[in-house]
């Protein structure tokens, strides 16, 4: 369509430049000081750099403080139900190869209620980028234990300190077959942007665990990886770590808290998107230009 008139120039003729201003939508409802603000700012910056067509950017989220993300980005977006953002994004990615799919959510949304979906989206190598804003707590529901809360963390559901062993996100993602796995920190803006950009440019399922402090319910959770608070931010030296070596990545992931940051693992493996398309191409080549309507007619005629 797109009939360009002088007073309403179509973007076909004058592609708009994506700026932070254009990408900004509703003012975030997060608590002042919440780590998620920095994640949002870094995302704007990376989009400014990549300059994808505005209408091709899609933000998807489940439920949680962090999952409010799509309201704050002026792009096509969908705010879905708790824990199911990844399968929803899978439906978008597979059925719309022309768009860029970004998924945001929390540690509860991703590793607890949505845990199994993470395994399957990863092994299927769905083309999308997933940022897990890990605050080691349930923020939106006001301080219950999350699957990444360290043992001993006092929450409303663990008044004497968390009893259960937390998951190790990097190990879990390695085991599930994700093809790009990284870890970053909302207080490390430059590193976060670099990691996001690499994740987005990866052709496959890219997932980033981004530590993002919940100042309201778990203040100080990441001080040990925040240099200005006396912590150590230890970035993986990729000249010494082969990112295609999953055993080495597994070893890195085993380091005691706060652990390492950066790209743990990255390999190229065909995406489900590409493999399904290959099947479609083969089927259509066999049909030699027959229209879908004729395909259906022939199929039904076999029932005569």
């Amino acid at each position: 369509m797109s009939t360009a008139t002088p007073d309403a120039p179509s973007a076909d003729t004058a592609p708009e430049k994506l700026t932070k201003k254009i990408l900004t939508a509703d003012h975030p409802t997060w608590c002042p000081g919440c780590g998620d603000f920095a994640v949002l700012a870094a995302f704007y910056k990376v989009l400014e750099k990549l300059q994808y067509p505005h209408e091709k950017i899609v933000c998807v989220a489940g439920i949680g403080c962090s999952s409010r993300f799509p309201y704050f980005v002026n792009s096509h977006g969908i705010h879905f139900i708790h824990g199911r953002a990844l399968p929803l994004a899978t439906g978008v990615s597979l059925s719309r190869p022309d768009v860029h799919v970004f998924v945001f959510g929390g540690d509860g949304d991703g590793f607890s209620i949505g845990g199994n979906h993470l395994n399957h989206a990863a092994r299927k190598n769905i083309k999308l980028t997933y940022v897990i804003m890990d605050n080691n707590v349930y923020g939106l529901t006001k301080k219950q234990t999350s699957p990444t809360s360290p043992q001993g963390f006092k929450s409303k559901t663990d008044p004497t300190g968390a009893i259960d062993r937390p998951i190790n996100p990097m190990k879990q993602l390695l085991a599930s077959g994700a093809t790009f796995i990284a870890r970053t920190h909302a207080a490390q803006v430059k590193h976060m942007m670099e990691v996001f950009e690499r994740a987005i440019l990866h052709d496959g399922f890219s997932v980033v665990e981004c530590l993002s402090e919940c100042v309201m319910f778990y203040a100080g959770s990441f001080d040990n990886s925040t240099p200005r608070k006396g912590g150590v931010y230890d970035i993986i030296d990729e000249s010494a770590h082969d990112v295609t070596d999953d055993t080495a990545a597994f070893k890195l992931a085993d380091e005691a808290a706060p652990g390492k940051f950066g790209v743990f693992y990255q390999v190229q493996r065909p995406t489900k998107n590409a493999l399904e398309q290959k099947w479609i191409d083969a089927e259509q080549a066999r049909l030699a230009g027959k229209s879908p309507k004729d395909v259906l007619k022939n199929r039904i005629a076999q029932m005569r």
Binding site: M1, S2, A8, S10, A11, E16, I22, A25, D26, H54, E55, K56, V58, V60, P70, Y71, N74, S75, H76, G77, I78, H79, F80, I81, R84, P87, L88, A89, T90, G91, V92, S93, L94, S95, R96, D98, V99, N116, H117, N119, H120, E276, W279, I280, A282, E283, Q284, L287, P292, K293, V295, L296, K297, R299, I300, A301, M303, R304
Partner: protein
Amino acid sequence: MSTPPTSTPTSLRNAVIRLAGNSQDGIQSIGGFLARLAGRTQKDVMTYMTIPSTISGGPSIFQLHLGSGEVRSPGDESDVLVAFYQHSYDNHLSALRDGGICIYDPDEVKELKSERGIVHVPVPFTSATIEAIGGSSRDRGKNMFVLGLLCAMYQLDREKLSGIVARQFGKKSEDILRNAMLAFDAGYAYPVGDIGSFNFAEGEHLDENRISTDGNTLMTMGLLCAGVRYGSAYPITPWSPIMELLRTELPKYGGIYVQAEDELAAVAMTIGAAFAGHLAVTGSSGPGLSLKAEALSYASMAELPLIVINVQRGGPSTGLPTSVEQSDLLQAIYGSHGDAPRIVLGPQDVEDCFYIALEAGRLAREYSCPVIILSDQALSSRIEAFTEPDVDKHWVEPPLDITPRPADFKPYPLDQITRHAPPGTKMEGGKYPIVTGLEHDEWGHPSSSPVIHQKMTDKRRRKLEELARALPNPEIYGEAEGDLLIVGWGCTCGPIRETVDRLRSEGHRVSSTQIRHLHPLPAGIGDMFSRFRKVLVVEMNDSGVYGYGQLAMLLRAKLADPRIESFCKTDGLAFRIREVVAAAEKTLASA
């Protein structure tokens, strides 16, 4: 009936044949071949089968009702029973009518009962098949032998039938085909003695362009014709054949069907495809529909078009996974949190599966909300013959519309039905839309304003009110007034209509209707009911603590009409005509 095969055959209008054996005997394929033949030789057909839910073996039956007029039910009683084993004989002799013919395998069936004038005919399928094919593989080919036997007995078109067999087996290997034909010919030539042969009377003219298939297959064809190109599901009986077929067929249309990790993911992926601008379908059977419930409420709230198929089976829980039941109606209409309006449709026979799928696609898009199709185990697997659908006439192009939207675009306008702008759509005003499950204003901004929640709830409900007004009343079978209107939904159509025929022939003023639009109900349904002295709702679910089945309860709630009565059963078997007749007679006799 003591005519030798060579003399004039007895002319028949109908024949009900029950094949009873084990699931590995291939009796389903005998039935399938005969049903397909019927479709090609101007005969009507309906089949019915039971398959054990265990994987290997177990008793299984296939019943086939062939006729030269319209066939509406698989038949209450059979004329011929083919018993493969002693247990088949013992369990199914009672299904044979008085004076019926029981063909049994004397290699397996040793103890016979002489009762009700039943004619026993021993035919050693096992040893005769081994003799014909050679070798000793005991079970192979028995079914082809029986097919040949029936072909001779009913003077069916041998050439067409062997053509159908050849096409099926030819795909496998020459050896297999040769053995099948050897067994078939041996059965055809087998001298059955003095039971005679039958042929079908010339019937009323049936349409030339007939096909025969089962409900799951035809539903899939309807979805493809409706423009469905994406979706996702998780396997469960008896839904799985639809997803398997979509998975296999969709790549030919440039689409993808995804096997998800569970039903929660399946409905989420399908909603993802719908959000992306496609017409998408998910489906399951009872337990799986329960798992999709949260996301269904989301689709109502976010106003996304979506088709959800539920091939009902016996519940609750894993229940009777391979039996028929209609106990998911309330789950389909109300089974989720919040006030979440959705449309619910029910196909009335196999042919209708095609048109219901088309209608589901149209309504999902027109009203931008989820549409649930309630099929069931009986419709899913039984084979019927009917007029070939006209694909040219019904074809719908897939709907993806990413033309730019003007600056005043609102995703959730209060005065119009929502039409989403999918990803990839340029927004000329520069403001991009968000689809949401939080209560929202017209622009999609989250809002907990009491005024907005009320208005948006009204908006979502109004769509269904509008649809109810637009829907025609369901078709009446029989006259538009009388003493009794029998109301059914789904697969009960055949036995209900046969009940009407029988009672009308006895002088009763009885009609019936099959409700295909289950939610919302057509607005004029009360008028329709008011022309009858009594209304009897017949359905396969429990009458519950208050004594009314699920549809009966809804109709009573809607119409507050005490003349509405309920007849329910939950034995996992399709209605027999005599059961419905008895219930109708009881209602007619009451004040």
